[in-house]
């Protein structure tokens, strides 16, 4: 993160005093709670002179390791607290509307304020789901013997999220929040064509109460990164949006090692805007594992 100040010398006198040179942000990857440059030194232009890193396989492995380190604690964080932390994220997003709106506009979103409204409300909705999934998905099983048998959902751990491209922000929060509300940790490969909004969102995550490592955001070449994610044995689930049929087949074959849980989905923008569908408990149930506990009754 440390950057040596550029030694450009004093401003030239000929420049008119009123013209101020703006500061341009160096977009970085978000890994383990820190913003880091891409390890490989590659980047892609975003227009307007801005660039974002092209994450390498090494960056991805670092991200999985950071996620795995955060997983033990996050999965044991009380569901109530996970919900409160997600709500805090909504508070931070609301306070940064102006910036997110500008990024969405620069990324080509047709109606940034409306997308922001929906995205922030989606975070609030998933904040409420954190301590309710178990109330819907757990059972006490009436087994035919003198046993107590209970089943409840548990998070699976590190999930690779290959985020949908559009809507850039609503699609990202609508797929990321259910993962972490359920207690998983995520390595996100930002969607195209607007990866910058994902990095701006990562800055909101960083300044909310979400612990470091719970969310990683990488920008880069999907074709390069996603197969690595699908092969990585530290990854327990793969949530891939907008994959072609051929890609999905290949990724599912790669995911066979480690028997990763996978989902391949592709939604129209309107589906993300449909709150009933997009914030249903099905969004959380995809990446949980049912644990059943047996215990004898009686002395």
């Amino acid at each position: 993160m440390t950057e040596r100040p550029r030694e450009d010398g004093p401003p030239r006198r000929s420049e008119p005093e009123a013209a101020r040179v703006g500061i341009r942000k160096t977009w970085k990857l978000f890994v383990g709670g820190a913003f880091v440059r891409g390890e490989s030194g590659r980047y892609r232009p975003l227009g307007g002179g801005e660039t974002c890193p092209l994450a390498s396989r090494k960056d991805l492995r670092d991200a999985v390791r950071a996620a795995a380190e955060a997983s033990a604690r996050w999965s044991r964080t009380s569901a109530l607290l996970r919900g409160q932390i997600l709500y805090r994220l909504a508070e931070v997003l609301e306070a940064r509307r102006a910036e997110l709106s500008a990024q969405l506009a620069a990324g080509g979103a047709p109606a940034p304020p409306r997308e922001l409204d929906l995205a922030i409300d989606r975070v609030v909705s998933f904040a409420g789901w954190a301590d309710k999934l178990s109330l819907l998905a757990s059972t006490v099983n009436p087994v035919a013997g003198p046993y107590l048998s209970v089943s409840q959902p548990e998070p699976i751990g590190v999930v690779g999220l290959v985020a949908p491209g559009r809507p850039a922000l609503l699609g990202l929060v609508g797929t990321l929040c259910p993962l972490i509300a359920a207690g998983n940790v995520a390595v996100v490969v930002a969607g195209e064509p607007d990866p910058r909004t994902a990095l701006a969102f990562a800055e909101c995550v960083a300044t909310s109460d979400v612990p470091p490592g719970v969310v990683q955001v990488l920008t880069g070449d999907r074709a390069e990164l996603v197969p690595v994610l699908a092969r990585h044995l530290g990854v327990r689930g793969l949530d891939v949006w907008d994959a072609s049929e051929a890609d999905a087949r290949e990724l599912e074959q790669l995911a066979a090692d480690g028997m990763k849980r996978v989902a391949f989905r592709s939604w129209a923008v309107s589906a993300f805007e449909d709150a009933r569908r997009a914030s249903s408990p099905a969004m959380l149930e995809r990446f949980v594992e049912t644990k059943t506990l047996w215990h004898p009754l009686g002395a």
């Binding site: 919900g83 409160q84 609030v124 789901w129 309710k132 709150a275 004898p296 009754l297 002395a299």
Partner: protein, 505 residues
Amino acid sequence: MLKLIEGGGASQDRRSGERRLEFGDRWPYEPSPEAIDRAGLRDRWDAFIDGRFVPPAEGGYAADLCPATAEPFAAVAESTAADVDSAVAAARRAFEGAWGRLAPLERGKHLFRLARAVQERARELAVLETLDSGKPIQASRDFDLPLVASHLFHHAGWADKLEWAFHGRTPRPLGVAAQVMPWNFPLLMAAWKIAPALACGNTVVLKPAETTPLSALRLAEIASEVGFPPGVVNVVPGGPSVGAALVTHRGVDQVAFTGSTEVGKVIRRAVAGSGKRLLLELGGPSAHLVFADAPLDQAVEGVIAGAFFHQGQVCCAGARLLVEESVHDVFVAKLRDRMETLRVGDPLDKNTDLGPVGSAAQLARVRELVASAEAEGAARYSVARELPARGWYVAPTLFTGVALAHRIAREEIFGPVLAVLTFRTDTEAVRKANATSSGLAAGVWTSHPGRLLELARGLEAGVVWANSYHRFDPTSPFGGCKESGLGREGGRQGLAAYVRLEEDA
């Protein structure tokens, strides 16, 4: 019994031969009072109706007494039926207007805001609660307020998820909820009632207990401050006549009450046939079972908390202790030792474990029940402690040799009094535990998990705490069977009291 070893130190216990610490007079507690300057106190409290404080239409003001001093510290409006009318009308307008029109998630967002505001104001609310109810600041700060906030937060999240909670049946709000509060957990019970009612789309008229109205009034004011539409939360302070006017009002659709079984029956009869939905959270002495194989020292902590938390003024207080006969003597000795360390005094002092009971009437009732137990032949042991000269204080008290027929084994004491009975077998323990008309909660202490589960099945209680006591969480349903109530509060099940499902229509 009180062994004061000068200066403190270690001594040998005569009974067990164990070495133990003695807290002599060289280890005194300095007073550590919580400041009251930020408690949001005011001299006069009006009813909160339609988004603002409104002076009573007809009644005057009554003095609100501080249980720790028995002196007045605020004047509170004495509402009448006229105020109830305007509160119910305001609630109806809100239900049919601004509140009813809100999308479910927007309702939830209001509740999230309220939860956050309560968290931010937790300290002032805790002090206000302690001043008004006599609850030790330890409890209001570390127990009541965190639970108030988490109940609001949890239910905020339900607002847009109700259709998932009822197995595909579509829930609709009922309308105006009339909610009558007890004096033991004034703010917590208000949150337990308001949170699900609002999450499910209803509006509320709440009547706080006559002796503890302030925190609920402040909560309504905070709701208004954070932007709730007027009329969504209304609070009408006053006595039983206000409660009666409210629950029998034609404009209310739901009645929720926490309090005594006796009043619960009165309310049920008054509401019968009106079509109003009823949620009752009543009392009854809950049984606490300690088996010989239990971790006894942990059990002592649980039994002490069960019996003496908030001076025993808890609907689910474990006031009937059933101890396996073989460990009775050693367990009672441990209980007495632990009771000696309880600090009775100023509830605003952060070291205080037990404050005063809630009112002069309550003090008289506890004293009367204690006298009855002595008259019926139980052996009394009270902590020899000098109680504050002012205020309604009762020393922690334990009775041994209690029989099932004794009044303290059958009636709800609602004071820091523990009745000890014995049993020999699991069957006898369950039979004795169930030998009351109430069935709110029970505690079981044993190291054998299978036995726990089997006993839990046999106990007639809405909540069974295993190797623990007084555990509460917004996700976990609470409520009693038999005469301890109707319905549950909290969790998915708790929502049912506040919605109409298609088939109910």
